[in-house]
Amino acid sequence: MTATTTGAATPGGPTGPTGPAGPVSANEGRSSGAAFPRLLAMEWTKFRSVRSTVWSLLAFVVLALGLAALITALTVNSWDKADPDQKASWLRDPTGNILGSGFFLGQLAICVLGVMVITSEYSTGMIRASLLAVPRRTPMLAAKSVVFAVVTFVVTEIVSFGAFFIAAPILHSKVQVSLGDKGVLRALVGAGLYLTMLGLFAMAIGALIRHTAGAITGVIGFVLVLAPLAQLLPGSVGKHIHAYLPTEAGHLVAQSAPGPKDLLSAWQGYGVFALWTALLLVAAEWMLKRRDA
């Protein structure tokens, strides 16, 4: 395991700490024009070199694909006994139901990963090393967001299409759906967009709260419990509050056809979610700059 890097083990020797610097231009004054790409490289190394990243993404893939297949199969099996509302929903929006089956729990792994990307720096003290290397906190948070968002987007898009191509054939005997149907492609791409935004949303909350357990509890409690519960709010005001909550608005983009009670269109909903996330990220950045590390 260690063999790969030990090639140049003793060039400096223990006596001359200044020796190793020789050919390396470790002097200042070099152009730092490539500053942001460097930060991206740094954040990418950080991201890929801890186990929580791999485990969270693996959990997401297994949960999302497995549950999409399982719940679709169960739905098909009990199709004749299912209540009419449920059938109507699958008939209206088969893609959204397939994705929802897998992502309802799968999205928690993305939330956990989003939170951990920043809170693990605080819990381990790594944040101090990071800020010593990159004292400007806004670019650091930006680089972290970009790396996390790109990776999450790639993984969730693959899983989104994967879930569709696994579950659609299972569903075939009851509901026919293909990639070319209206809204399907948008929903599949939208699912990845939704989960990526959700990850950033969780990351912003992680940056604000700075404690892993607290931030994870907060995000998951909101996404799974509070936001859906808002449906029960009475009257038109309650309906609007629910419609504009971040995740409730955001997940509309992962539906191929709007539901009967949806107030916002798919992209309007995503815009609302993006706005919430942007606000939280700005707040996180503001706090990061002001708080002691």
């Binding site: 890097t5 030990t6 400096g12 700490p17 190394t45 070199s49 003290g125 944040i127 101090r128 090393a129």
Partner: protein, 352 residues
């Protein structure tokens, strides 16, 4: 390159509060290149906070801290200029030592070669691919030092670097710091252990309760507080104390240590007197004039440790219960002498 004598780290009127607690209180000092500057103070004196303020991790309420005239946060490639080892660990426990250093190197545009060199320098090459969470305290400290040296910086800020190191590691750190200082680097190293500083530092910045107590060479520091302390044994202690008091120029002893002319007389547990502010010869003459019998008259030489205790008395954040009467004992008061003096007393007893 920097011209000789130009201050590298400059702290000006720096203050930091956490809630009601003042951690750093209008601190001003400068650290110069080419030697090791010890940053000394009791636990809780504000050393780590000061270093964190210099490094831009915390925001001061007032004042400035600069490195070559620039605040840390404005340095473009800070690790190439300043290497820092913080007291608290700053490593993700799940990441390997190699990847830890590599991500830091990437942020500064340093090549992979520097990572290998830094690992070799601190002797962690063998465990480079192991998770840092499994490292012992000493190995963790070495990894922190590798990170500090990664960019071959001109300035090193080390917070309690010998903590957790075995004797071999301590020696290694000392030699490392000395060779770096000899190479013209600026070394600012904190410790609460005077003895450690005595071995390494050339210059001292001493703080207590966030305030500057001393900023001078190690030699001057020792000389300042070891002068004019004399152990006196006499069967007539009360009479002698009175004589010495009368002889002394009246001075306001406000507990901040003895100024010129202030004489303090303290009584050790075994009845011996500890006289400060008067030479042994003078005490002998006064005693003779007053016809007081002397059994012993011994000038005391304080070690660096004692000098430190002496100067930081009254600024120690957490007093041990028995220590509370130790503050500057005014003339002829019957207080307990400071711990250091008691030690000396028992030593001289053994010597007798």
């Amino acid at each position: 390159m920097l011209s000789e004598g130009a201050a590298v780290i400059e702290v000006h009127d720096l203050s930091k509060r956490y809630g009601d607690k003042v951690a750093v209180d209008h601190l001003t000092f400068a650290v110069e290149p080419g030697h090791i500057t010890g940053f000394l103070g009791p636990n809780g004196a504000g050393k780590s906070t000061t270093m964190r303020l210099i490094l831009g991790l915390d925001r001061p309420q007032s004042g400035t801290a600069t490195i070559d005239g620039v605040p840390y946060a404005d340095l473009r490639e800070p690790l190439r200029k300043v290497g820092a080892l913080l007291e608290a660990r700053a490593v993700h426990t799940g990441r390997s030592a190699y990847n830890h250093l590599w991500c830091l190197a990437q942020s500064q545009g340093l090549p992979r070669k520097r990572v290998d060199e830094a690992l070799a320098l601190v002797g962690l090459t063998e465990v480079a691919r192991k998770r840092a969470g499994g490292f012992s305290l000493g190995m963790g400290q070495r990894l922190g030092i590798a990170a500090a040296l990664l960019g071959d910086p001109q300035v090193l800020i080390l917070d309690e670097p010998v903590n957790g190191l075995d004797p071999e590691g301590v020696l290694w750190i000392r030699n490392l710091m000395k060779s770096l200082a000899a190479a013209g680097k600026t070394i600012f190293v904190s410790s609460h252990l005077m003895s450690e500083m005595a071995q390494t530092a050339d210059h001292l910045v001493v703080i207590g309760r966030g305030q500057l107590i001393a900023d001078e060479s190690v030699d001057a520091f020792i000389a300042r507080s070891s002068e004019r302390s004399v152990l006196v044994r006499t069967p007539q202690p009360a009479q002698l104390a009175k004589e010495l008091e009368r002889a002394a120029v009246p001075a306001q002893s406000d507990g901040s240590g003895e100024g010129e002319g202030a004489v303090t007389v303290a009584t050790a547990d075994d009845g011996a007197l500890i006289v400060r502010g008067m030479e042994a010869a003078e005490i002998g003459e006064k005693a003779a004039a007053a016809r007081v019998v002397l059994h012993e008259l011994t000038p005391q030489r304080a070690s660096l440790e004692e000098a430190f205790m002496e100067l930081t008395r009254g600024s120690v954040e957490y007093h041990v219960g028995t220590d509370q009467h130790a503050d500057g004992v005014p003339v002829q008061a019957q207080g307990t002498p400071p711990a250091a003096a008691t030690d000396q007393t028992s030593e001289s007893e053994v010597a007798e």
